[in-house]
Each structure stands twice: as C-alpha cells, then as structure tokens.
Symmetry: C2
Subunit: 330 residues, 2 copies
C-alpha cells in the first residue's frame, strides 16, 4: 500500500518559456526525489522519514524554491520555512524565517521531536538548529542568479504579486508560487506530510507563509489524508486549505479526490495546487495554474512525473518508459 506524491511548486514556467532540455531536467529531478522517498518506504521506514527525505532532496536542488535556490525577499534576503506532520500521532513541527539552515525540513522535525512546541522561528530557531547539530550554510550557498534576478525584476517593475487582490500574469507564476512538498503512506498505512519553501519572491522581510503553518500548507491524519499545498500562501492560510481537505472527508464523507477538487477549485480564491493521499492508496493532485512540478508512485509501484497536462512514466532503474501519458487526476 506504499504511495508517495511530491511537488516542486504550482506555477511552473509558462510553456512558452520551457525548452525540451529544461523540461527534461525538471522531470529527472522529480524522478530522483521520488527515488529517494520511495526507497525509504521500500526499506520499511515510516512515512515521516520518506517525506522528510523527499523534501531534503527538493531543498538541496536549486531548481526548486526551498533550501538552496530559495526566493529572495524585497530586502534581497532569503527567509525559509518548513513543516511536517505525522498522521499517527498528529504531532507536528515547523520553523520559519530561517536564513542559514541547510535543510529547514530537518529543523521542523527536530522541533517536533526535541521540543514541546510546534513552531520555532527566526534567530532563536537557528540557534536551536545549531545546538541540534544541523548543517548550517553561508548565504552564498542558497544564492541563485535566477531567483535574485526574479526578485529584482518584480521589485523593479513595482509589481507585488503577493496577494490575490493583484492579478499575477502567468509569466510570473513561477516566481511567486513555488514551494516543495511530499506526502507518503507507508507499509503500515501511516500517513505523513511535509512542505518547505523560500516563500514568495519580493515578499516583505519577516513574512511567514503557509509552508510552516499546520492546517494551511501541510496536514496529515491517518483517519483522513496527508496534504502538501503550494500557491499564493496567504490565501491558503485564510482558507486553511490542508486541514479543510481533511475536514471535508471527516465531516462530509467526501472522497479524497472530491475534497481535493473542492478545496482547490471552489474554496480557494487564488492560484495554487496540492498533492494528497489517503491510507487506502488513493492519490489526488490538483492545481489551477498552467503547470505544477509533481510526481507520484502509485500503490502498484508505477512512477510518474509531470509539469503540465501529460506525464512521464519511469521504470525502477530510472529510465523513461513513456513521455506522453495523460494526467490521471485532471
């Protein structure tokens, strides 16, 4: 019953800017992340380990807006955040406003396991990370010219694509709505979810987004589902999108697929998406943007990655089996 789903952010590059080489690079990166996470599940490790390992792999890849390669705020600084949640115990850990922690999701797990708290933030959280032996990196490590120029471009044009009040052109989606995340179901039918993000390009210094808020950007409960969201964070924070999906399953008896559609396409007044699974092997992936970097491994062990509306299928050895499979979720 092992399943895994990951995302590298709604708001993929617009099709017009996506070359075949670049798309291939993203597909391969997503496949590698699935390999990392699914290996955990195959070794019998809990879903919490699988989502953490998947998100670490996403954070370490500068293609995605989390960890290395994070977005810049309007002061030209990186402030990262992450959270994870365990569907068995409903325990959760999160951290925000991080500048030099290599893997924010590892800090989120330390907060969950080593403190009585859920959310630890800013300078004191970095001190705690160091005391727990987490790897710290200098500012340079996180820097990417691509993300820095994206910030300058938006700041320079005085656009603030930070709220659903502002119409964000599709060409800017990839700057504004990227986040990474993973959800997993392990061999014992236990669920877990994790999210991590550099946040919105050109955000205010001190802005905290959905990716570290339990119930907004991440939620897991064995009774219902595990969810990781991506998109204009403020809308998810006000709609409690991740928990709302669970609540619709628990209180209305909705299926995972119906609830995922409802929260993304009807209740969320903004662009974004999510990956979600249930403990019966079900997977639901929904988004409103032109594309979303994503991947999943079904309960039959089939491995898929996707950016727009068609998917790559991969074999276990990491070779492409097909490049033109219809997205089964949309």
């Amino acid at each position: 019953m092992k399943t895994l789903a990951i995302h590298g952010g709604a708001g993929a590059l617009p099709k017009s800017e996506m070359t075949q080489e670049r798309a291939q690079e993203f597909h391969e990166a997503l496949r590698y992340v699935l390999h990392v996470g699914y290996s955990c599940l195959n070794q019998g490790k809990p879903s919490l380990d699988a989502v953490e390992a998947s998100v670490v792999a996403l954070e370490d890849n500068p293609l995605f807006n989390a960890g290395r390669g994070s977005s810049f705020n309007r002061d030209g600084k990186i402030e990262m955040e992450a959270a994870l949640m365990d569907g068995i115990t409903l325990k959760a850990g999160a951290s925000s406003l991080l500048r030099n922690v290599r893997n924010p999701v590892k800090l989120a797990r330390k907060v969950m396991e080593k403190t009585p708290h859920v959310l630890l933030s800013a300078y004191a959280a970095e001190v705690f990370a160091q005391s727990e032996g987490l790897v710290m990196e200098a500012d340079d490590y996180f820097f990417t010219t691509y993300r820095y120029e994206a910030m300058l471009k938006i700041r320079g044009s005085n656009k603030t694509p930070l709220s659903e009040d502002v119409v964000v052109p599709a060409s800017l989606h990839s700057f504004t709505m990227s986040t990474v995340g993973a959800v997993a179901c392990d061999v014992n039918h236990n669920l877990a979810a994790a999210s991590s993000s550099g946040g919105t390009t050109n955000k205010y210094a001190g802005r905290v987004g959905q990716s570290c808020i339990v119930g907004a950007g991440v939620y897991a409960n064995n009774k219902t589902c595990a969810v990781s969201c991506t998109g204009l964070g403020e809308a998810f924070m006000r709609a409690l999108t991740a928990y709302d999906l669970s609540a619709q399953m628990e209180y209305k008896g909705s299926s995972l697929v119906d609830a995922a559609r409802e929260v993304i396409h009807k209740k969320l007044n903004a662009n974004g998406g999510l990956v979600s699974i249930d403990s019966k092997g079900g997977i639901a992936i929904q988004y409103t943007t032109q594309g979303m970097y994503r991947g999943w491994v079904t309960q039959e062990g089939r491995i898929f990655t996707a950016i727009y509306d068609s998917c790559f299928e991969w074999d276990l050895s990491g070779k492409v089996k097909s490049k033109d499979i219809k997205d089964p979720f949309n």
Copy 2:
C-alpha cells in the same frame, strides 16, 4: 443583534489562591473591557473595531497575559503575538515574536490592511510597526514581577508545562495557559475575532503559539462563527480548533453550542477554552480548566463576567446587579 464575548485566558488562578478582592479586580477589569468593546458596537462601528478595541484594553491591563503583563520565555524575554480576522472578507492579519510593540493586535490589523500578507514576524515586524506609527514601549513597560517570578519558579523547578505530554498541575494553569481574545457580531450581522498573547511561561525563545495562527487560535467567517481560543497552544495548532468549530458548523450542520463543546471537550487533547458567537446572536463559551476569565454581552444587552462557575451581572452604568448567576454555557 449586537453581541460580544471576551476572555482573559483559561487557567484562571486556582480557587484556593483567589481572594474575594482579587476576584473583584478581575471582574471589574473584564467589565471594563466589555464596556470598551460594546461601546464600539453601540456606535455602529464594525465588529472588527470592537474586537480590536476589546483586545487593546486587555493588552493594556497587566492582569492579563498579553501586551503589558506578558509572560516571560526561558531566556527572561517577552515575545508577544496577536491576530485578527474579518468574517465578511475572510481577511486576516497577524504578528508574532514582538518585543516592544505596545499593542500587538493593532499591528495585526496593520498587517491585514497595509500589506499583502497574513503573518509578519520578529524584528522586521517591529520595524513595520514603527513605520506605521504604532506606539512602541521599552522592555520595562511590559514587565510584571508576578509573571517574571512565575517563569523563574517553573524554570527553577525544571518543569516545562508546555506540552500535553506533561501533566500540568492546576496550580500552574494560570502561568501556562493565559491568552486574551474577543469575538463580536455587529449591527450588520458581521462577525470578527481577535486574540493576543504573551505566550506560554518558560517557552523556548522563538516559540510561536496559537494566538497568531489563523484557524488555530482565531477564526471568523460570517457563514458560520467567530472564535477566539486559549489554552495549551500547541494542541490548538495541531487540532486547528478555531477553524474546526467553523468546519463542523459548515459541513456537519452542527449548532454553535454543539460544535464548541465537541472541539473543546472531545477533539482537543489538552486543557483550554474558547469564546465563540454566530451571526444570529448565539454565544458559546467552553473550557476544561477550573476557571476561565470571561465576559459577554447578550443580544438583549445583558452584561456578564465570570471566572469560575458563577457569573456577575452588571448594569449599563457599571454597577453589579447580581453576583451569583449560574453559568448559562456549562
């Protein structure tokens, strides 16, 4: 249809430590806060103004753990947080890890109205507060010997009453679970909610609690209810208690009273409480602790304050009409 409900924290002083004089002081403080908030409603102001004004009055009173009189973390520092939400627009604002902002709830409103964000935190939030002309105070302003000694007592005894894993003796409830908040329904049937807190005594530096998390410690939606919570914040953050009350009304068709009972007495695995109202004039107040500082004004204009299981009723001029009315909610 104007209604208002406020709280000054679950985990009131244990009855054994509460003198008649001290109880009178709390009742009068709560009555004054109701007067402030209800005056806004009587002047035809929106519920958002009423909850903000009520919480400002609670923050300014050192009897309560928010603003002046906030709890100390284990480093001997104060780090405050607040949030508010508008039930018409579902817009929300919040701020956390504040050291010198006199009224955190005012900053929360500025975040809501002047930025595209929901949550702004730590040093950058204080800079923003100053740029918006909010009153800043030196550390001394917030200091109370009572709260400082409470921290030393808990730190010294190596107790960390910060998680539901640790059994917190009732005598420590007043140190660990105080928060303030208000919910209101205005003449136009619009709802709003606000919360503010100094957080848990002896918390880690950098800990962010429920009072600044939309859906955990505060939520408002004209379709359902307005809620402000108090208690062991981490449990509320994992249970999304404020939003859960709304979700049970929306998806299960529960009444306000039933949903409030369910989320506090059945779904929350920790001590705490909440005040909540709906747009039909209904009020529900629930708590699991021995006492909760609280007050409310009914749609008929009757004014009540309470600490334990009996209530004071007040007339409009601020005189006590009765000191022995049975709590109508429990």
